[in-house]
C-alpha cells in the first residue's frame, strides 16, 4: 500500500500496465516528454521508452484512429485526450469506429482500448477546459464509460479498463487529481467496471453523483447528518454499464433521491438516472427525484464559475426539499 493522490494513482496504474503487458502503449499529446498537462504519465517515457510512450502531433482524430488500428492489431493502447473540450475532433472515430468494430465484424475484430479524458471544471480554466460530456459517450452503444473519484478507484478502474476486451471511455475528474490522498494497493489491482460504490449508508435520502461532484455530494451528506438527516451517498462510478441494482435498492429504502452532476441539465446523464428511478420504483418514491446540475449554459470562465457548479448548499437544499415534500 502507498499513499497516493488520484493523479499519482493513475501514474502508478500506467506503470503497472506497461510493465505487466507488452501490448500496452500510451499515446497522446505531450504525454511522453512532459508527462502530460497533468503529469499523469510522468516518468513513463524514461521507464518504457518512446516506442511505447508516444508523443503525437496535435490531432485527436489521428490519436484515437491510430490507437484504434493498434487495438484491432492486438495492442492495448491507452490514448489520452488533453481535455474533454478537445475530444470532439475524435468523436467520429469513437462513435463510428471504436464503438462499432466488434458489432460490424461479429467479434472478428475488436478494439480493446482506453481513451482517457480529463474532464470537469472548478479550476478557473480557459474555455473548453471544463466540459463534462459524459452523456454523449454514455449514449453511444458499444462504449463503457467510467469515472473514478478516489485514488484507489482511479488505479483499479484504469487497470480494469486496460484489461477490458472492449473500449472504455475513462473520465478523470480534474478537480480531484490532487485534492484527495489515500492508500492504494501496489501492483496489479482492479475495481470491477459496472459497480457503484456506497460511500455512506443512510436511510432518509439517496444522494447520487460521479466524478468531481462526489466531493460536494459527500460534504452535503455530512451537512445533512449534522441536522439528523441520514443520507445514503452513492458514487455511481460506472455510467455504462450502470449499476441499477445498487441505485434502485437504495432508493427503495430511502424513498428519496437527489442526482448531482456538473454537466448541463437537459439530456444530461442525470436524466437517465432520474428516469430510471421513477420508472422502476415509482411507488417507493416519497418525493420527486431532484436533479442538481450545471445549467444549460456554456461552462463559464473563471469569474462566472461560482455561479455554475452545483454547490453543497444546492445539494443540501434539494435533499431537504425531498424530505419536506414526502
Amino acid at each position: 500500500m502507498t499513499v497516493l493522490t488520484l493523479a499519482q494513482a493513475l501514474t502508478a496504474a500506467h506503470a503497472t500496465a506497461l510493465a505487466a503487458d507488452d501490448s500496452v502503449v500510451v499515446i497522446g499529446e505531450d504525454v511522453a516528454r512532459t508527462g502530460g498537462v497533468f503529469r499523469v504519465t510522468e516518468g513513463l517515457l524514461d521507464e518504457f521508452g518512446p516506442t511505447r510512450v508516444i508523443d503525437t502531433p496535435v490531432a485527436e482524430s489521428g490519436i484515437v484512429g491510430a490507437a484504434f488500428g493498434m487495438a484491432v492489431a492486438g495492442l492495448r493502447p491507452i490514448a489520452e485526450i488533453q481535455f474533454m473540450g478537445f475530444s470532439t475532433p475524435a468523436y467520429d472515430q469513437v462513435v463510428n469506429h471504436v464503438a462499432r468494430i466488434r458489432n460490424r465484424s461479429r467479434h472478428r475484430f475488436t478494439a480493446p482500448m482506453v481513451i482517457r479524458i480529463p474532464y470537469g471544471g472548478g479550476f478557473g480554466a480557459a474555455e473548453h477546459h471544463s466540459e463534462s460530456w459524459e452523456a454523449i459517450y454514455a449514449h453511444t452503444p458499444g462504449l463503457k464509460v467510467v469515472t473514478p473519484s478516489t485514488p484507489a478507484d482511479a488505479k483499479g478502474l484504469l487497470l480494469a479498463a486496460v484489461a477490458d476486451p472492449d473500449p472504455v471511455i475513462f473520465l478523470e475528474p480534474i478537480r480531484l487529481y490532487r485534492s484527495v490522498k489515500e492508500e492504494v494497493a501496489d501492483g496489479w489491482t482492479t475495481v470491477e467496471i459496472g459497480k457503484a460504490a456506497i460511500r455512506q449508508e443512510g436511510s432518509d435520502v439517496t444522494l447520487l453523483s460521479w466524478g468531481a461532484m462526489t466531493k460536494e455530494t459527500r460534504a452535503a451528506g455530512e451537512r445533512l447528518a449534522a441536522d439528523g438527516i441520514s443520507s445514503e451517498v452513492i458514487d455511481v462510478r460506472s455510467l455504462v454499464p450502470l449499476d441499477a441494482d445498487t441505485i434502485l435498492d437504495s432508493v427503495r429504502k430511502t424513498g428519496r433521491a437527489v442526482v448531482v452532476h456538473e454537466a448541463p441539465r437537459t439530456a444530461g446523464f442525470g436524466a437517465e438516472v432520474s428516469a430510471l428511478i421513477a420508472e422502476r420504483c415509482l411507488y417507493a418514491l416519497l418525493a420527486p427525484v431532484r436533479r442538481v446540475t450545471g445549467w444549460d449554459t456554456v461552462f463559464p470562465l473563471k469569474r462566472g464559475e461560482p455561479h455554475y457548479l452545483p454547490s453543497i448548499d444546492r445539494i443540501v437544499a434539494a435533499a431537504r426539499s425531498t424530505l419536506e415534500e414526502g
Binding site: 501490448s23 502503449v25 516506442t51 511505447r52 508516444i54 503525437t56 502531433p57 490531432a59 482524430s61 489521428g62 484512429g65 491510430a66 490507437a67 484504434f68 488500428g69 493498434m70 487495438a71 484491432v72 492489431a73 492486438g74 495492442l75 475532433p89 467520429d92 472515430q93 463510428n96 469506429h97 468494430i101 466488434r102 458489432n103 460490424r104 465484424s105 461479429r106 467479434h107 472478428r108 475484430f109 475488436t110 452503444p141 458499444g142 463503457k144 476486451p165 472492449d166 459496472g194 455504462v240 454499464p241 450502470l242 441499477a244 441494482d245
Partner: protein
C-alpha cells in the same frame, strides 16, 4: 502518369511481371466484373440493398491487392469488393453484407481485411495504426488502405497521412481517383495538380499511375509495399481510373456527367487491354475466355447461394455483437425484444 500497358494492349516498357501472373490477375478481373454485374442485377431484384459498382476499377483493385502478402492488412471501402475478395475476403460474405447483414463483416481468422468502411475518410488512419502495431510487435506486415478521390478532402486523410509520415508506419495509401465524389468532379474537390502531389505536404513519396493499367498499378504498389516492409515508411499512390457505373444503385449520373464522357472512359477498359496484350503474346484464346468466364459465373453463383442460405437474423443478432459480455442493460433489453 505512369503507364506500362496502353489501352490498345501494347507494352510501353519491359514489365517484371511474368505472363502466368498476368493471366491469374486477368482471371481475377473477369471474376470481379461478373461479381459487380451480378450485384447490380440482384439489387434490382431486391435481393441486395444499395450497391456501389466498381466497373472500370478492376485493374486498380486487383493490381493493388496482388502486391500484398496474405498476412498484410487491407482497409478498404464500400466500393472495393474486388480488392477485398482478391485479398481473401469470401465473396459470399461480401454478398451477405450487401443483403444488410452484419455477419458479412466477419472474414475468416486468417484474412486480415477489415469490413468495408462506409464512412468516407475515417478508415485510412486505421491502416496507420495497424501498420504501426505490426512494427511495434516486430512483425513484417504492412497495411494498405484503399480510398477514393473524395476521401482526400476529409480532415482524417490529412491526419492519417501526417501520422504515417511522422511515425514512418508501413502504410500504403492507395487512392482510386475515379473522377467523382458522387456528383462532384475531382477538379472541384481540390486545386492541387494531382492527388499524388498531396504527398509533398507530408514529405512522403507520391506516385501517379494509370489506374486502368493492371501492370503499372501492380508494379508501383509492389514497390510501395516493399518500401514499407523494409521500414522506409509510407507511400501515396494515385491510381487514375473512372467509375463507369453510377455512384450507387440509387444514383443517376446523367445529373452530373455526359454520355460522351462515359463512352470515352469505356475505351480505356482495364480488362480489355490485358486481354489484347495476352492475345498478342498468344496467351489468350476464346476457349480460355469461355472457360474462365464460366468458372467466374460458378464462383459468383455459389457465393450468392451461400449468402442467401444464411437464415434471417434472430433478435439475439442485435445484442450479441455489442460487447464480449453483454451488460445487464443489454441482457434485459434482449428479453424485452424477444417478448
Amino acid at each position: 502518369m505512369d503507364q506500362v500497358l496502353t489501352p490498345e494492349g501494347e507494352l510501353l516498357r519491359e514489365s517484371p511481371i511474368r505472363d502466368d501472373l498476368i493471366k491469374r490477375l486477368y482471371r481475377a478481373m473477369v471474376v470481379a466484373r461478373q461479381y459487380d454485374h451480378k450485384s447490380i442485377s440482384l439489387q434490382r431484384q431486391g435481393r441486395l440493398a444499395t450497391y456501389a459498382p466498381f466497373e472500370g476499377q478492376e485493374g486498380a483493385q486487383i493490381g493493388a491487392a496482388a502486391a500484398l502478402h496474405p498476412d498484410d492488412w487491407m482497409v478498404a471501402t464500400y466500393r472495393d469488393g474486388a480488392a477485398m475478395w482478391a485479398h481473401g475476403f469470401p465473396m459470399d460474405l461480401l454478398f451477405l453484407g450487401r443483403t444488410g447483414d452484419e455477419r458479412g463483416g466477419a472474414p475468416p481468422a486468417d484474412v486480415p481485411c477489415l469490413p468495408p468502411s462506409i464512412t468516407v475518410g475515417g478508415h485510412m488512419i486505421h491502416a496507420v495504426g495497424l501498420g504501426w502495431a505490426a512494427r511495434i510487435r516486430g512483425e513484417r506486415r504492412v497495411a494498405l488502405t484503399l480510398f477514393g478521390d473524395g476521401a482526400t478532402s476529409e480532415g482524417d486523410f490529412h491526419e492519417a497521412m501526417n501520422f504515417a509520415a511522422v511515425f514512418a508506419t508501413p502504410t500504403i495509401f492507395f487512392c482510386q481517383n475515379n473522377g467523382y465524389a458522387i456528383s462532384l468532379p475531382v477538379a472541384e474537390q481540390t486545386k492541387s495538380e494531382t492527388i499524388a502531389d498531396k504527398a509533398v505536404a507530408y514529405g512522403m513519396p507520391g506516385v501517379r499511375v494509370d489506374g486502368n493499367d493492371l501492370l503499372a498499378v501492380y508494379e508501383h504498389t509492389l514497390a510501395a509495399v516493399n518500401r514499407a516492409r523494409s521500414g522506409a515508411g509510407p507511400t501515396l499512390i494515385e491510381a487514375v481510373t473512372y467509375r463507369i457505373g453510377p455512384h450507387t444503385t440509387n444514383d443517376d449520373p446523367s445529373r452530373y456527367r455526359t454520355d460522351e464522357e462515359e463512352i470515352v472512359a469505356r475505351t480505356k477498359d482495364p480488362i480489355v487491354r490485358v486481354q489484347r496484350y495476352l492475345e498478342s503474346k498468344g496467351e489468350w484464346t476464346d476457349a480460355w475466355e469461355e472457360e474462365i468466364s464460366q468458372e467466374a459465373a460458378r464462383i459468383v453463383d455459389e457465393a450468392i447461394a451461400k449468402a442467401e442460405a444464411v437464415p434471417e437474423p434472430e433478435v439475439s443478432h442485435l445484442f450479441e455483437g455489442m460487447f464480449a459480455e453483454p451488460t445487464v442493460q443489454l441482457a434485459e433489453q434482449e428479453q424485452w425484444a424477444g417478448a
